[in-house]
C-alpha cells in the first residue's frame, strides 16, 4: 500500500452548481424566470406570495420547499396556480434547504411551458439556502421587523447574495422597539445599496411594488424556443 496525493482544485459545491446550471438551461428553454425566495421561518414568505401571486399579470407557478408537510402548498393551490411541494425530510434528519438536485427532481411535475415565472419558496433558514444555487435568475429574501435590527450583520452571506430584500410586518412597527434606521444602516453595511421594499403581507401595504418587481423579473427570461 502507498499513499498518493490526488489534485482536486475544485469548489466542493461544484456538483451542485453543475446541476443548478442544468436547471437554468431548462428554465431558459421554457422561457421561465425563476426566483429563489428565502427567509427565516415565519418571516411571511407564503403570506406574501398569497398577496401578490393571485393578481400577477404573468403566468406564475410555485415550488414549495419544506422539511415536512404540504401546508404551504395547500395555501398556494387555493389561488389556482400550479404548485408542487418538495419535502426534504428524506435527507439526513430533514435537509434545511433546497439544493439543485432536489429542485431538478420536481421539474417534471411543473408545467414549465405554461409559465412565465416560477417562485421557489425555500426552506425557512438564513444560512444554508444562501450556499446552494438552484438555477434561479434572482434571489429575494424576506426579513421581518420582528427578527431584530442585527440580522444583516449575523447572516451576511444571505443578505449579500440577494438582489431584493423585503422588510415585512411593518404594520407591527408601532408595537415593537425595532429601529428601522438601524436595520437599514446594517443592511447597507453588508450589502450597500441593495434594493429594499417595506411591506406588510397582512395589510398589503407596499406589496404592490413587489408584485410589479416580480412581473419585471418574469419579463427577463428569453422567449421560449
Amino acid at each position: 500500500m502507498h499513499r498518493t496525493k490526488v489534485k482536486v482544485a475544485e469548489d466542493a459545491l461544484d456538483a451542485n452548481t453543475t446541476i443548478a446550471n442544468a436547471n437554468r438551461g431548462d428554465f431558459d428553454r421554457a422561457g421561465v424566470s425563476v426566483v429563489n425566495f428565502m427567509s427565516a421561518p415565519g418571516a411571511g414568505k407564503t403570506t406574501l406570495l398569497e398577496r401578490v401571486l393571485a393578481e400577477l399579470d404573468v403566468r406564475a407557478g410555485v415550488l414549495e420547499g419544506d422539511v415536512q408537510g404540504s401546508a404551504d402548498a395547500d395555501r398556494i393551490s387555493a389561488l389556482h396556480l400550479p404548485v408542487v411541494q418538495l419535502n426534504t425530510d428524506a435527507g439526513f434528519g430533514g435537509e434545511c434547504h433546497l439544493d439543485a438536485n432536489m429542485v431538478r427532481s420536481a421539474l417534471g411535475d411543473l408545467p414549465l411551458g405554461e409559465l412565465d415565472l416560477l417562485v421557489i419558496e425555500n426552506v425557512g433558514n438564513l444560512v444554508c439556502p444562501a450556499e446552494f444555487r438552484v438555477g434561479e435568475d434572482a434571489r429575494v429574501m424576506v426579513s421581518a421587523v420582528t427578527e431584530g435590527e442585527d440580522k444583516p450583520l449575523k447572516y451576511p452571506l444571505m443578505f449579500r447574495t440577494c438582489e431584493l430584500v423585503l422588510i415585512n410586518k411593518i404594520d407591527l412597527l408601532e408595537h415593537l422597539e425595532f429601529d428601522l434606521d438601524r436595520f437599514l444602516y446594517n443592511l447597507d453595511a453588508v450589502h450597500p445599496g441593495v434594493e429594499r421594499m417595506l411591506v406588510s403581507a397582512r395589510t398589503g401595504e407596499g406589496t404592490e411594488a413587489f408584485r410589479a418587481w416580480l412581473e419585471g423579473v418574469a419579463k427577463r427570461a428569453p422567449a421560449a424556443a
Binding site: 500500500m1 502507498h2 496525493k5 489534485k7 466542493a12 434545511c96 434547504h97 450589502h191
Partner: protein, 120 residues
C-alpha cells in the same frame, strides 16, 4: 448549522476524485466569509464519512481571511465586522480578493501496489 450540508458536499466531491480508493486526508481552503465553524465542520465530516471510503479521513483546512479592495481608491483591508464599504473613501463598489473560498485542493488516497512495474 450549515456545516452538515457542507460536509456532505465535501464528501461527494472527495469520493468522486478518490475513484474507489481509501481516502486518508482532504486538503481544503475555506474563506472567512463562508462562516464555517471549524469544530462543527470537523464533527460533521466525521459523521458523514462513516461507512464510506473516506471513513477516518483527516480534514486539513487552511482558513483564509476575508480581504476586500475598493474599486475607487484601491484601498485593501480585512474587515473585522461584515462591513462591505471602503473604510477610506466609503464607496460601496468593492471587490472581494479572498474570503469566499470553499475549495478542495487535493486528497490523499491509499492504493494497492501495482502487480508489476511498467518498464521506463
Amino acid at each position: 448549522m450549515h456545516e452538515l450540508s457542507l460536509s456532505t458536499a465535501i464528501l461527494d466531491t472527495t469520493l468522486r476524485h478518490a475513484e474507489g480508493r481509501r481516502v486518508k486526508s482532504v486538503q481544503m481552503r475555506i474563506g472567512a466569509m463562508r462562516q464555517v465553524v471549524p469544530e462543527s465542520l470537523e464533527f460533521y465530516f466525521g459523521i458523514v464519512t462513516r461507512d464510506t471510503d473516506a471513513a477516518g479521513a483527516v480534514l486539513e483546512v487552511e482558513y483564509l481571511p476575508a480581504r476586500l479592495r475598493c474599486l475607487g481608491c484601491g484601498e485593501e483591508w480585512e474587515p473585522e465586522l461584515p462591513m462591505f464599504r471602503c473604510p477610506s473613501c466609503l464607496r460601496a463598489e468593492i471587490e472581494t480578493l479572498s474570503g469566499t473560498e470553499f475549495e478542495i485542493e487535493s486528497i490523499v488516497v491509499e492504493e494497492e501496489e501495482a502487480g508489476c512495474i511498467a518498464p521506463k
